[in-house]
Structures are given as structure tokens and as C-alpha cells.
């Protein structure tokens, strides 16, 4: 009986962990080649992955919502550096970081979800 209790997203979390590693490697490779940066953050299981992301100046970060529930990506700074509209399942938000610094952000619907982008 217990096997049939489904908690959505358990498998997704495992694959997210591996996916995040892959993304990190990709961004290093790209920076070595001096190409424009695109870096992915996955929103999965009420978590930003990776929660802390380091990118070079000029990189574009794209968040994709893989949850069954809508989320947002909103800068914690005042004034806000960026603010997405509400992202339903599979919707994306991108922001290009043109200045160095640390950019904390959160989901304004589920404020326990936090992350940051470190731009160097």
C-alpha cells in the first residue's frame, strides 16, 4: 500500500541536483570561451536550484518553473533589481546582470523560497 503513495517531485529533486551540477560546469566552459553567458536556474519542489549562482558580468540568467504551482522571481533589494511576472508551470524569466554584485531574490508567493545570484 505504501508504495502507491505518490509524492510528486521526489524524483524531480534528485534529477534537479544532478542537473544543477551540469549547468554549473557548462557556465564555466562558456566563460572560458568568452561567449555570452546564459545560465539556468530551475525552480523545482519549492526550491531555486542552484540557490546560489555565480556568473560573470553580462551573463543572462534564465529561471524555469518546473513545479505544478506558480512561482515568481523577485529581487529582495530596494529598489528591486528585477521582478518577474507570475510563472506558471514551464514558464521562464530571464534577466541580464550588467553590474557586479550580489543579488538576493525570493518567490513573492512563497517567501520561504530564496536564492541569490553573485555577479563577478
Amino acid at each position: 500500500m505504501r508504495r502507491s503513495v505518490f509524492i510528486a517531485g521526489l524524483a524531480a529533486t534528485l534529477s534537479l541536483g544532478m542537473g544543477a551540477l551540469g549547468v554549473g560546469q557548462k557556465s564555466f566552459d562558456a566563460s572560458a570561451q568568452q561567449k555570452p553567458e546564459t545560465t539556468e536556474v530551475k525552480i523545482d519542489n519549492f526550491t531555486f536550484g542552484p540557490a546560489a549562482l555565480t556568473v560573470p558580468v553580462g551573463a543572462t540568467v534564465t529561471w524555469t518553473n518546473k513545479d505544478d504551482i506558480p512561482h515568481t522571481v523577485v529581487s529582495t533589494d530596494d529598489p528591486k533589481a528585477f521582478k518577474s511576472k507570475v510563472l506558471d508551470t514551464d514558464e521562464k524569466f530571464s534577466f541580464t546582470f550588467s553590474k557586479a554584485g550580489t543579488y538576493p531574490y525570493f518567490c513573492s508567493i512563497h517567501p520561504k523560497m530564496t536564492g541569490k545570484v553573485i555577479v563577478q
Partner: protein, 322 residues
Amino acid sequence: MAGKVKDEILHDHNHDGVDRRGFLKCMAWAGTGAFCVIQGGVLKSYSLSRLPELGAKEAMGELSFVQISDSHMGFNKPANPDVAGTLKAAVDKINGLSVSPEFMLHTGDISHLSKPEEFDTVDQILKSAKPKDVFYVPGEHDVLNDDGKQFLERYGKGSKGGGWYSFDKKGVHFVGLVNVMNLKAGGLGTLGHDQLEWLEDDVKHLKPSTPIVVFAHIPLWSVYPEWGWGTEDSAQALAYLKKFGSVTVLNGHIHQTMQKVEGNVTFHTAASTAFPQPAPGKADSPGPMKVPAEQLKSVLGITDVNHVQGQHALAVVDSSLA
């Protein structure tokens, strides 16, 4: 839905062992809201799913009303591909009550994505309910993208500030609070200074014997802060209600029924009409739960009856309606 139809899955689009009929049946078990009756100044709350067993004596009181919550109109994922159907099922149950409730409370997350058509659909479905008055408070899903402007235009007539208000029915003072606005990173639900000040003033002149019913979306007690299931400044709000002998707090948000008694205050959360969420800490995240029909009841841990007794020392005791 004929009596002899076997429970077999006809269309299992999502390969999760639950079809629409199966789901509707789950929801029948889970309960889709609460029937509340005030007796002797004290609120008693019954899961809608057990109402056919509710005797006339239990249903009679000075005042009765229904709480529904979290209809999430627009949600269409495997946890419930037909949230309109399950909301209609809740309305059918309300209309089947032997005692007609005076009004309904909707404790938020009316819509899933704050889209006008989602609100329209809920309005349309609730029009078929016998109680004609519906009192709303917003959930975080109702105030996306526009800081609640649309919600206030639709439902906020006569409300103060960010949508809070109070009204009296048959000697009971009802207070609708808003705790889903201006949420801060890492934080919980929040009422804010202006609303707290208003609340203090709103109840100041009431007699201590006045029964108080407070309703808001996010629980006003600390259900599970790790998942954001609580309100940062709720203690301040409750402090203003200390002098009252009978205080009931009704919330939604967590998609499962829970009760707690603390001094003169009884807390209840209502089930969702849309989809269940896991018990606190029982999953990696509070995302929608996909559960086979035969498991739902145990996963949700439904208490069917919340029977509050006594005028001052309140307790949730009775679990039998027989």
C-alpha cells in the same frame, strides 16, 4: 454515479491511478469545506463530507454558515484536473444541507493565477449555492501581479486598506483579515501595522461576551513555519482578542483540516476544494499531492467533527456524529 457502478478507472490520462470520478470520490472523503454553527455563543465546525449524518439538533443554532477555501480555479495538473467539478461538488453538498446556512466564507485562493476568467468561473459556480452572500479574503494566488487591485475591485467593497473588514450577524462579530500582501523574503504571512491598528480599534468597544470569528487565508497560528505556514504578527492580533470568551479563527492555505485550542481561541483550517497538500514536514515541499483514492483519507488524517464545548474553556473533543 449510479449505485452499482464499480470503481474502475475509465481514463487514466496521467497514469497515476486516479481518474476524474475517482478523484471526485476522494474529495467526498476529504471534505471540501466546513459547516459551522454557533450554539450558545460557541462555534462548532463539521466537515462537509459528513453532513448527511448530521442530525437536526447538531445543525441548529443561533447562526450557521459554511466555510470553503482554496478553490484554485485554473489549476489543471494531475493532482486535480477538474477543480471546477470539485467546487461544484462542494456547492451540491452545501445545497443538500437540512439547515440552510446564512452565508458563506471563502478563505482565499479563489483563483490559481489571478486571471479574470478564473474569478468569473468561481463566481458563476457559487451563484448556484443557496446561501447568496459570500464573504471573501484573498489568498496569495488572488493578488498576483497587481498587488490585489483586481481582488479589491471584485470583492473588496466596503473593506478597509488592503481589504480587511468586519461585520455582525446575530450577535456574532466576524473579522476578515488579509495576510497575503507584501510578503518578505524568508518570511511568513503578515498582517502589518495598519491592519493591526484597525483591528484593535474594531474590537475595542465590543463586550467580552461577544463571540468573535476571525477569518484569513494563511493560518494565524504557527502550523509549520518551515513551509511558510504561519503569520509573523498574528500574536499581536490575538492579543487584541484576549478579553473575549469565545474566539474562533478560520483559515485555509494548507489544504487540509487541522484544529488547535489555545486558551480562549480555537483555530481551524479548512480543506481545499481543489487538491490536497502534504502534512507538515511529510514531504520535501508543500506541492500538490497526487494520491490514489484509497490512500487519501489516511494521508490527510481527516478529523470529521470538530466539536467545541463550553463557554470559556474550549476544547475540540467529539469525533463521532452517530
